[in-house]
């Protein structure tokens, strides 16, 4: 009966139509642009030539930028993991006084990523900041531009890239069976042994995935090196951006993007191979909830508290600076020096006085809503088909949809611009470069892998019997999906929708390659205001943008996750 029905469904015209759409989309936007980029680079003149590669190798600056990016990625793997694990332990594992306040500040990177965050760090550590003034006062020889180069980029990105740890490592930690910790304690293990030998090994798979993400983030970092790198520390992506913007060196940009892609793939293969060893399956059927551990050793306890609060200060200062400076006049913003007279709400009045001022907002909101909705809808469809038909075609699809994870977003962006620069048969001879569509497509592509993973795991987590029951009671597939399945998966879908949304809003790294010059999204506007050349008024405006962004993101996250994740568990 079941097979009969499946066979019938295979010939369902809607399914066929949707399948063709998916196949076309994957080919046109995931496969074709990347293949085309490689082709254009090496066969651009009609015959195979390594000319662009030679050109690249002759440029010391370009080679240095590749090395810098790899160095940055390696450093970040260590620093982000150390800080990220600490944050998660401080908020979820150890009994730290004031943990709920700490949590709030540690979560702040979630609501103001990318360029907005850079703006905050610039306000705190930059040239005219009170901190730099203070340091110069102590030591007159102190360099006003001290916060730049590898150190500054590494510092900012270390604290900027811990969002995923806070989200995923926390939930992995909460899934640890508390009975294993009690068992280890009962067998005589000390707190450090338990942490090292029982808890951390359980987190290994999650840590592993986070390490990959961190490495890739470091490799294709764009905004932080642009703001803090200075001349002495240039990385690949900004370099690609520079090359891509001049027609004479466009081929250099693609080669560089390819180098980025190749390094990524090598690292991924290497890491995936070593992952096989570290896997385990939890066997606990009756898990008990984790209870926070009070650190027995007094000195260690004090030390841990101190570290936790230093991190609190580091995380809080930039966001606090943005909020405070957004209420000050241009004078205070440019000099960094605040008096009582500096405070004003003029910036806010200015922002909302003209449509022109809120334009970047509206543009980004539009992209956020549309992009996030489309990617979720697309992934839902794919996940549904994958669950329903587990065959070679859907398995290939699953693999193809992971392409954006294996390729740095810079390469994808370059691929899209280069390919859709001219009429392409694959999209019915349309030109996308320089239209509003290209950025939307870009947002959809880069968000596919993560969204698909979440929707898939949600879909596959549903007990098959529930779906069978609905059908048994007479519901058709569509009705079952809308009335039974969707309500079950809706919380995770809303979660992933909002994460995509707040990721798109202030995005710079991808946006800068693909945006329509007349429709400047928020990320670009804020980035321009972060530069040293920006006028104080522009800066003021962007502080307001950022504050509103933070408020908006916080509202979205608390609305979606508030009831599930952040609420304190009641003691039973």
């Amino acid at each position: 009966m079941d097979t009969l029905k499946n066979r019938w469904n295979k010939w369902n015209p809607v399914t066929i139509l949707l399948s063709f759409f998916i196949i076309w989309f994957v080919f046109a936007f995931l496969v074709f642009p990347n293949v085309n980029t490689i082709y254009e680079t090496f066969f651009g003149t009609g015959t195979f030539s390594l000319e662009p590669v030679e050109k690249l190798l002759r440029s010391d600056r370009a080679v240095q930028s590749v090395l810098n990016s790899i160095l940055l990625a390696i450093i970040l793997v260590f620093t982000v993991n150390i800080v990220g694990i600490s944050l998660v332990l401080f908020t979820n594992y150890f009994d730290i006084k004031g943990a709920s306040i700490l949590k709030l500040s540690y979560f702040s990177t979630l609501v103001y990523g990318g360029v907005a965050l850079n703006l905050g760090y610039k306000l705190v550590y930059g040239k005219n900041s009170p901190l730099t003034d203070f340091l110069t006062q102590i030591n007159p020889n102190w360099d006003g531009n001290w916060f730049s180069g590898l150190f500054a980029v590494g510092f900012v990105m270390t604290f900027a890239c811990t969002s995923n740890h806070m989200l995923f490592l926390s939930s992995a930690l909460r899934n640890v069976d508390y009975q294993t910790i009690e068992a280890a304690k009962n067998l005589g293990a000390s707190q450090i042994t338990i942490l090292k030998n029982v808890v951390l090994p359980t987190l290994k798979p999650t840590l592993f995935a986070l390490t990959i993400i961190t490495f890739l983030t470091g490799l294709s970092a764009t905004s932080a090196p642009l703001v803090f790198g200075g001349k002495e520390f240039e990385t690949i992506t900004p370099m690609i951006l520079t090359f891509a913007n001049s027609s004479s060196s466009k081929d250099l940009a693609t080669v560089l993007a390819l180098v980025l892609g190749i390094v990524t793939i090598i690292v991924l293969t290497f890491m995936l191979r070593s992952e096989q060893k570290g896997n385990y399956i939890s066997i606990s059927k009756t898990k008990t909830t984790l209870v926070k551990q009070k650190i027995n050793n007094k000195t260690v306890n004090i030390l841990v508290h101190i570290i936790a609060y230093i991190l609190f200060i580091i995380y809080t200062m930039p966001v606090l600076a943005i909020i405070i400076y957004s209420f000050t006049d241009a004078m205070a913003i440019s000099s960094g020096f605040i008096t009582w007279d500096s405070f004003t709400i003029d910036n806010y009045l200015l922002t909302f006085s003209s449509l022109e001022a809120v334009r970047p907002y509206l543009i980004s909101l539009g992209y956020g809503f549309a992009g996030s909705f489309l990617v979720v809808a697309f992934c839902l469809l794919c996940a549904y088909l994958m669950k329903k038909y587990n065959n070679r075609l859907t398995r290939t699809l699953d693999f193809m949809l992971m392409i954006p994870w294996f390729l740095p977003s810079t390469l994808i962006a370059v691929g899209l611009t280069v390919t859709f620069n001219t009429n392409q048969w694959v999209v019915l001879n349309q030109v996308f470069t320089g239209t509003l569509w290209l950025l939307l497509i870009g947002y959809i592509i880069v968000n596919i892998p993560f969204t698909l993973r979440i929707t898939k795991s949600t879909f596959f987590g549903i007990n098959q019997e529930i779906e069978d029951a609905a059908k048994n009671l007479g519901a058709n597939a569509f009705y079952t999906f809308i009335k039974v399945l969707l309500p079950i998966i809706l919380p995770s879908i809303m979660g992933i929708y909002s994460l995509n949304f707040i990721g798109i809003l202030p995005d710079y790294d991808l946006t800068v390659f693909l945006y329509h010059p007349l429709y400047e999204p928020l990320g670009i506007t804020i980035m321009n205001a972060t530069g040293n050349s920006a006028s104080a008024d522009t800066k003021a405006l962007n502080l307001v943008y950022t504050v509103i962004l933070v408020i908006l993101n916080t509202m979205i996250l608390t609305a979606v996750y508030g009831n599930l994740r952040f609420r304190k568990r009641k003691k039973v």
């Binding site: 304690k185 009962n186 359980t202 399956i281």
Partner: protein, 342 residues
């Protein structure tokens, strides 16, 4: 010997257990039995040292261990989920406690091999991941992990509750023989009366944070000293109405002090109406009508309506052929087997 003295445990304003007093003798298999939420696991965890009593003391051989942390106590626990470390192999799991104690490597190897043999784990299983083992093997690893430390006391928290019925019975027997071989003092928590009756030397029945009765399985079953214990263990007929309707016939019961009367279903006898049944002196006969019967193979359970009380009785063999609904029968009650409560 374990001694609990006036132990009370509170969570915020909820009292989980109040005023516990009992002793567990050396080498004894002692069971905490009760419905879920009765405080048995809480009591066990205070013995292991995973929680501290709000008041009262716990002694181990006259030594006050109330505030001793769990890692310093010589009491090892087998958890409900087994709590095997999923990232380690079977060998690493069993060796964990010894490694922590910094026992010599060769010694650890020897001890792990010995204990594995005793709990019937094959040598090739030691290299496996714990997730590759069956439920029964996992349980043996959990027990081996506790026993390899040669603890004074072994403590088990519902270790069989995760398993299917058949495996549960098999492992129950293995557990019993293991305990006999090791002669180790064992404290066991369960809500399953059959487990408690078959395994234990003595049982403490918990209800709402208090111990209702402590005794051997026979004492608990045959002389349940509270209505709760009587109802929690075994199957009963509530014959209060029958007794109060015929006070003159139940001359051996204390009708003045008690007002609840029960008879265990297997203590009832049935004889076909018309057949003569020689009553002994404390036995009483009532006339009833069979209204239902359930066939179990080993025995058959009959529901019989006596006046307005329905009583159940079991017979090893079915009543004579053709015995069916509405058949009139005699129900014989023995007064000495009637449990009476205030």
């Amino acid at each position: 010997m374990i001694t609990f003295q006036d132990v009370t445990i509170k969570y915020d304003d909820f009292t989980a257990v109040k005023n516990l007093n009992f002793e567990v003798k050396d080498g004894e298999f002692f069971t905490f039995l009760g419905p879920s939420g009765c405080g048995k696991t809480t009591t066990l965890r205070s013995l292991v040292g995973l929680i501290q009593p709000t008041s009262g003391e716990i002694y181990l051989d006259d030594k006050d261990i109330t505030n001793l942390p769990t890692e310093k106590r010589d009491i090892k626990m087998v958890f409900q989920s087994y709590a095997l470390f999923p990232t380690m192999t079977v060998y690493e799991n069993i060796a964990f406690g010894l490694k922590v104690k910094k026992v010599e490597k060769a010694m650890i190897k020897q001890k792990v091999a010995d204990i594995a043999k005793k709990v019937d784990l094959a040598a090739e299983q030691l290299a496996k991941k714990v997730s590759e083992l069956s439920g029964g093997q996992q349980q043996r690893v959990a027990i081996a992990r506790a026993l390899v430390n040669q603890p004074n006391i072994l403590v088990l928290d519902e270790p069989l509750s995760n398993l299917d019925a058949k495996l549960r019975v098999q492992l129950r027997n293995e557990l019993k023989s293991l305990q006999k071989n090791f002669g180790i003092t064992t404290v066991y928590v369960t809500h399953d009366q059959e487990e408690a009756l078959t395994l234990s030397d003595r049982i403490a029945v918990f209800n709402k944070g208090e111990i209702e009765q402590i005794g051997t399985p026979e004492e608990i079953y045959e002389q349940s000293n509270s209505e709760f214990v009587c109802n929690f263990i075994g199957e009963n007929n509530n014959i209060t109405k029958l007794v109060t309707n015929h006070p003159e016939r139940f001359d051996r019961l204390n009708l003045e002090e008690n007002n609840a009367f029960y008879s265990r279903i297997e203590k009832l006898k049935i004889s076909l109406f018309g057949q003569t049944y020689p009553l002994v002196e404390d036995e009483l006969s009532f006339t009833g009508k069979i209204i239902d019967s359930e066939y179990y193979g080993i025995y058959t359970k009959y529901s019989i309506k006596v006046e307005d009380t329905v009583v159940r009785a079991v017979l090893k063999e079915k009543l004579s052929l053709g015995t069916d609904q509405n058949e009139k029968v005699q129900v014989i009650l023995s007064q000495q087997h009637i449990l009476q409560y205030k």
